[in-house]
Symmetry: C2
Subunit: 399 residues, 2 copies
């Protein structure tokens, strides 16, 4: 049987609300295992009715959105707003690309595997450089497909024959900007650009890869909509991606597509009416939030003496028109001081994170979501600081 | 490579709007290939604002709906309305069942295959009595899974070992009430009850099978929502179905779940406030529409001398408290008169249908949607009548 790592493992794990869960000793569990983007709720609350949608009972009795479009289940409004937002932000080329909507980018990732491997005579190898997104191996192998097969770390990949390399940039879990590493003939690249937005990383160039994946969840924070999109250069591949989504779910919720269109429009609009760096713009709010969170986290980590975080090279961002240091959606924390299993160590302190072993590397690492609500994040930083203090106190006591 | 039959084949095929598509000679193409349930639009338009939903911009930034529920992505409101509607209609037991929401019932079908086969040592056989739903073989085999494998017509199934039998009742395409046919040890049944609603068929008993699938698309006509649900007796199976939907799409659109809840509530409410047989109730409207459509179609077919339709035994319906004859969502039309390929024959008359060969039987059959808008349906019946007239005229001319 296929080993299912904790993609979500939600049957037994509750997300942190920051005010609900408590353990035996009355200390709240801080669950930062998932990348639940509830940080964004506050911004949308401030926007009031601007992005409220009203859907009448008679709407959407058809499977079809735009029968003449290659992607017949794509709402034209959403397609327009995707194109506009990429133009406003400058993070991807859309001209001469086919847009395919998916039920989140997870579904589009599976659709891409299908599209790229359906003509292969034997299972295509699927690889990604470690640390790679923990869902990739699980999703790739869960049905034991004869079309494709997870082959692990791209850096160690030495099989011949065609392969699919997944390039997540900025990378989940560690936040680094990435390029393909195998670079052999017969390789096909899928670029997961879920985090290539100006709240997280400098926008250096409009991406123009053959197959690029994006998701509303990480762009605007609306994970509950389950809306992602692919930008696809080749028409035949685009048609196969569409076919997979037809087979898998006969299209994508039109209600959510309508809402996603409205939310993306508000993001583009907000960039137009105010200086983008102001808090009333979506990216202004998000970028400020990420800067302040990373500052707080780095302070706590620097004081700790136990933990360390990746160090990023600052880059010039065409969107902000200034240099800044990446502010990833996840913190990739390393435990030192001889602690081998960082996940268990933090769990002892009621902080739930995801172990490095699910990302193909050492369990001395954990991935921590940076996108939870303020209250949860502040509780987390405070608790992390306390861990250090307790150690220091113990050491002082021994002295 | 897996042969992909026309599940939708939408890249090249446009749905009929009844007022758009025309062919070279100015005659409209009538596309009844898909089961697009646009017939229901009229009812929901009449209901005005009753089922309008308003969703604020800040809603649904989380992946989670109900973290403590086995199905953590199920909106509690939808769960309540599913239970209530089954109680009002009397078509399924929900007590002691787990409810799992899916992106349409197609996704739940795939989730069921995964859940039932993930522990098997070799690929499980998947069978269904012909004529079976045309998507079953395509979906089952599209990824060449090592967990399960399409083995075709259940009536011809003679392999040993565990198997999954799909029982669609009433059946798509032919509308007959069905039971399992293999009945061997090691068999697991999946009941697709998408059409077990009182507009289509007598409700004779509350169904209580181990695993039952339903979909909003065929219940209320909201295909664009992509919402289905499974009622699952066994907790371990339910957890695996949830796991698959987590892997496949990390849950299901919350916007559509909210809308589905509102629409199901309106259906239940309408049954409470008026005599159910009145047109202002949802099932009253739908049942009347189906009766009138089937009467018109049978008239046209009886006059034709070319075509025939299934004959159904009337049954007592506990919901309507009267006897009636099934009124399926699809017409399963047979061409006589030596016409071997009914799909091609009708295509010559600009009527697009789906050939029997996709359902595992002879191409002398076609499946025709009965759920399109009035205008399209009326055009179809008129055109079908004209085919007869032309033949008669030719015969008379020869005489």
């Amino acid at each position: 049987m296929v080993k299912l790592g904790p993609v979500f493992s939600l049957a037994t794990v509750s997300p942190s609300t920051g005010d609900g869960e408590t353990t035996d000793n009355g200390e709240a569990i801080i669950n930062l295992d998932h990348g639940d983007p509830t940080m964004y709720e506050k911004y949308w609350q401030r926007m009031g009715d601007k992005t409220t949608v009203v859907i009448s009972g008679w709407q959407f009795t058809s499977y079809f959105s735009d029968p003449k479009n290659l992607c017949w289940f794509l709402e034209p409004e959403l397609a327009e707003e995707v194109v506009r937002l990429h133009r406003v932000v400058g993070n991807a080329i859309t001209k001469d690309y086919h847009i395919v909507v998916g039920t989140g980018s997870s579904q589009l990732f599976q659709a891409a595997l299908y599209a790229l491997s359906s003509d292969a005579s034997e299972p295509m190898s699927v690889v990604s450089a470690a640390p790679y997104y923990s869902s990739y191996p699980v999703i790739t192998d869960c049905l034991k497909s004869g079309l494709y097969k997870w082959e692990g770390d791209a850096q160690a990949f030495d099989k011949s024959g065609p392969y699919i390399e997944l390039v997540t940039s900025p990378n989940n879990p560690d936040g680094f900007v990435r390029q393909s590493v195998v670079n052999r003939s017969g390789g096909i690249l899928v670029h997961d650009l879920a985090y290539y937005w100006p709240q997280y990383t400098p926008i250096t160039t409009p991406a123009d890869h053959d197959l690029m994946l994006f998701t509303v969840s990480k762009t605007t924070g609306h994970a509950g909509m389950r809306i992602g999109w692919a930008l696809v250069k080749d028409e035949i591949i685009a048609r196969k991606i569409v076919k997979y989504i037809e087979l898998s779910t006969i299209g994508v919720s039109k209600d959510s597509q309508l809402r996603a269109a409205k939310v993306l429009r508000a993001v583009s609009d907000s960039c137009g009416v105010a200086h983008p760096f102001k808090e009333e713009t979506f990216f202004g709010f998000s970028h400020h939030s990420m800067e302040s969170r990373w500052m707080l986290l780095r302070e706590a980590v620097n004081r700790s003496g136990i933990f360390s975080l990746p160090e990023f090279t600052p880059g010039f961002c065409n969107f902000w028109n200034r240099v800044f240091e990446p502010l990833p959606a996840f913190a990739w924390l390393k435990c030192g001081d001889g602690i081998e299993d960082c996940e268990s160590f933090l769990r002892g302190h009621k902080i739930w994170t995801r172990s490095g072993r699910y990302f193909g590397v050492s369990p001395s690492y954990v991935r921590i979501s940076m996108l939870d609500r303020d209250r949860t994040f502040n509780l987390f930083v405070k608790r992390l600081s306390r861990i250090r203090s307790q150690r220091r106190m113990r050491l002082e006591h021994v002295d």
